[in-house]
């Protein structure tokens, strides 16, 4: 469904992405793992044109775009098929939870206001925030804000949702509620590309895990293949570092 090819991106003199390829099928939940600075965020941002790649292509079903030269029209078309959940939530501060979710439907997609609000309420209900329609982001906890962020993505009914470390900015006791919501929407068949350090999510929810290091995809496979039988030395070393000593992997 989504095929990314040969993505290159350089910041100044640092080559951050060195030709990344990625294929995602409908219904896939793909987790990207990798050490800090390996280019995970940059890759997601290039797919959604929050960053302009130096080279690379993306094909989305029938749409094919050059990640470097895409026109405004192409960019809007790709953004209509994708949604992004940010590490820092990035909710619109001047809008209520409901308005946050409705904005993309009402302004971005041009839906009628009542229609947009109806869909938005359903999305907020799905993430357990039926009580918080009229709360502003400043009145919500981090976990609640991120759930609004997820509702905002889900409401757009995109072909794929890109998650960039959705739980990293949260206090530990709030991580669970967000992961639960993500598991729910994954189970409902949403296609997801998730950068995360939550190994439990990768193990339990993903059907494919990608390990990135130094701007390249080093290894990819099922969670079992990556966690139990990693082939590459770099993957093994990374997993040793991030998994607790007594981490036992059962599948």
């Amino acid at each position: 469904m989504l095929e990314i090819k040969n993505v290159h991106k350089t910041f100044g003199k640092n080559e951050i992405l060195k030709g990344v390829d990625l294929t995602i099928d409908k219904g896939d939940v793909v987790v990207i793992l990798g050490p800090s600075g390996s280019g995970k965020t940059t890759l997601l941002r290039c797919i959604n044109f929050l960053e302009r790649a130096d080279e690379g292509t993306a094909s989305f079903d029938t749409i094919q775009v050059d990640l470097h030269n895409a026109s405004k029209k192409d960019i809007l078309a790709i953004r209509k098929k994708t949604a992004f959940v940010f590490q820092n939530y990035n909710l619109f501060n001047n809008k209520t939870a409901l308005e946050n979710v409705a904005e993309g439907l009402y302004i971005g997609r041009g839906l009628k206001k009542e229609e947009a609000l109806k869909i938005s309420k359903e999305a907020l209900n799905r993430v357990g925030l039926a009580e918080k329609y009229d709360a502003y982001p400043s009145q919500l906890s981090g976990g609640q804000q991120q759930r609004v962020g997820i509702a905002r993505a889900v409401a757009l009914n995109p072909d794929i949702i890109l998650f960039d470390e959705p739980t990293s900015a949260l206090d530990p006791e709030l991580v669970g509620e967000v992961l639960t919501v993500m598991k729910d929407i994954a189970r409902e068949g949403t296609t997801m590309l998730v950068v995360t350090h939550e190994m439990s999510f990768a193990r339990d929810v993903a059907n494919r895990v990608i390990f990135m290091d130094g701007g390249n995809v080093v290894e990819e496979g099922t969670p079992h293949e990556i966690f139990v039988q990693p082939k590459e030395e770099r993957t093994k070393r990374f997993l040793q570092r991030v998994l607790p000593d007594d981490y036992s992997y059962h599948i």
Partner: protein, 236 residues
């Protein structure tokens, strides 16, 4: 306080008040002109648009580095010359030296206020995090839609205190309009004082009138800022 002519004080207070509409008109028109130009040039500075950015910087340092009264004299002297050249070229027969000083006031004060607002808007826009426009883009808004619905409403809240200061400074600066015979508060009261040398009373009146206007304006801004920033209230 026998040295104050109370009757004159009260009569002149109303004369000074009669200058308020002109002072406010100049203020409002100058703001209306300066806001779009200031905003546009603020964006040019933020996005570092080649020629416009340098122009804005030069313009700001010129306005900041010179007294308003000198800007008034310079523009008041050069505008007629420019117009004269223009009118001669296109053979327009218009008595340049009969132009209502109000028009000069609009030009001079919007020229000055634009420079102030560039910096006000620039710093206000920079308080809005980059994540806001990225989130707007990610849900399919165009850059213009993102500015209109997300960025500007938030930047406006941040800009309110400085906008208030700029507006009050502008109102006070219109008192310099007497230098170009603008029929505003200061000039009217002073003319009144010229007859009997009651300058102290006239200045007191001027003082009070500006004070009242500025207090009212400040109050209005505070009230509006509160309304705009409702979303920042933390209720839980």
């Amino acid at each position: 306080m026998g040295f104050i002519d109370w009757k004159f004080l009260i009569d002149t207070f109303f004369v000074a008040l009669s200058g308020v509409p002109v002072a406010l008109l100049v203020t409002v028109i100058s703001l209306l002109i300066a806001v779009p130009f200031g905003f546009f040039l603020a964006l040019s500075r933020i996005y570092e648009i080649p020629v416009l950015n340098s122009f804005a910087k030069l313009y700001i340092s010129f306005v900041r580095g010179t007294p308003i009264i000198i800007q008034i004299f310079v523009l008041y002297a050069t505008i007629p010359l420019l117009l004269n050249g223009l009118f001669e070229k296109y053979e327009i027969d218009y008595p340049i030296y009969e132009i209502n000083p109000l028009w000069y006031a609009f030009i001079i004060f919007s020229f000055n206020t634009t420079a102030v607002l560039i910096e006000v808007f620039r710093s206000a826009l920079q308080t809005v995090s980059k994540g806001q426009i990225e989130a707007a883009h990610s849900v399919g808004l165009t850059t213009w839609q993102a500015y209109r619905r997300i960025i500007i409403p938030q930047a406006l809240v941040a800009a309110m205190p400085n906008l208030c200061t700029a507006t009050i400074n502008l109102i006070k600066a219109t008192s310099l309009g007497y230098a170009i015979s603008l029929q505003e508060i200061t000039l009217k009261a002073k003319v009144e004082a010229n007859f009997g040398y009651n300058y102290l009373e006239a200045y007191l009146d001027i003082f009070i009138v500006y004070l009242l206007i500025c207090i009212a304006v400040e109050y209005l801004f505070k009230w509006y800022e509160k309304r705009l920033s409702r979303y920042q209230l933390r209720l839980v």
